[in-house]
Symmetry: C2
Subunit: 219 residues, 2 copies
């Protein structure tokens, strides 16, 4: 098994590989983890030696099959623990990420599957992110944002893109959670602010940045 640091790097690289299109660079990883680029270069060398990634100046960092398998398992554990913390221990959705950040590293061969079963095989975590299945398959993730919608459209909140507690607490205050219905009433041309109705209630105005961090689904 791998160290806590190795696992966190794998997860960061996996995350970057999901934002497809761009190549994964030391700088990119450094930004995600908040580590110094020099440290990242060291770890890239180490992970490449262990055959968890390939590194090529041109192509950037790529997870190997082994590396991806491991990364997916860590993400699976992270998201399952988040469900546990919210549903069984009564935490709120802005409190769970940091705890899951530690829990995801607990090592036991059957733990993830047992937890999965105990939680009755949830497909999405409390932030709407897909929970990889035991076989490695990942349920579909949402990609349409509230800001993408046409005026007048009603939608269901499916996930949040930003999972910082600042954003999540703001959503709690606005009474927005997963499955909340939102109607986009108007887009203000000046700054792309959005006038919305939350769960059928009165109008509220939110910023474009806000709208880009809410992932939605048809109703």
């Amino acid at each position: 098994m791998y160290t806590l640091s190795e696992e966190n790097y794998l997860k960061a690289i996996y995350r970057l590989s999901q934002e497809k299109g761009q190549k994964i660079t030391p700088k990119g990883i450094s930004d995600v983890l908040g580590n110094n680029p020099a440290s990242v270069v060291d770890m890239i060398r180490k992970l490449a030696e262990k055959q968890l990634i390939d590194y090529d100046k041109k192509k950037g960092v790529r997870l190997t099959i082994q590396g991806e398998k491991n990364a997916v398992l860590i993400v699976r554990k992270h998201r399952l623990w988040e469900v546990f913390l919210l549903e069984k221990l009564g935490y709120q959705w802005d409190e769970i990420h940091n705890i899951a950040e530690e829990l995801e590293h607990i090592k036991d061969d059957t733990l993830a599957d047992r937890l999965d079963k105990f939680l009755e095989f949830p497909e999405y975590d409390p932030h709407g992110d897909p929970i990889p299945k035991a076989n490695g398959k990942v349920p579909k993730s949402y990609s349409v944002t509230l800001a993408n919608l046409k005026e007048g459209t009603r939608c269901r909140v499916a996930a949040v893109r930003d999972t910082s507690s600042t954003f999540l607490q703001y959503l709690l205050k606005l009474d927005i959670g997963i499955n909340t219905t939102i109607q986009l009433i108007e887009k203000i041309p000046f700054d792309s602010s959005l006038v919305i109705s939350i769960g059928g209630k009165d109008k509220t105005t939110v910023s474009q940045k806000f709208g880009e961090n809410i992932l939605v689904d048809g109703i």
Copy 2:
């Protein structure tokens, strides 16, 4: 908060302080943790600097109030997680200790109390060890062993002293668990072997060492 190593040392020292009478030495800690005595001496210095222990050549190592508070909390978390693993995730009692050894270090102010509530405030862990309460109070631990009993006595298995998987698996095989009723039928004078009846069934013979590792309660 403290590092994983510091916490493991605190817990080891706490454990030794429960086996009262003896003073706690570097050698003793070294034996519990399997670390080199030189490493132990380093850590003793560090913990003393942080005022978690006092160290005196004559008196040996003593936990300070702060140190004990921390140690008890780690033990509390360890035992609560053990209950969780057994009752909620369906592990057997020989599989849970090592996982709890990692889980006990998860850092969050409200986690232990939430877990306690979720588990409905258990008083003893799956090995019969008392779970410290939120206020630091520790339920009574058992101290009479099966080997202590007079011939003829019936008792309830309250706890096990040895929690190695070898011993626990042996007990599974013998159909002995917490709350099993055992009657001590005969003590063999030659080697102090014990002839017992487990749960009212046929006679079995076990060693003295075995009997010393079963803690019992009146019926």
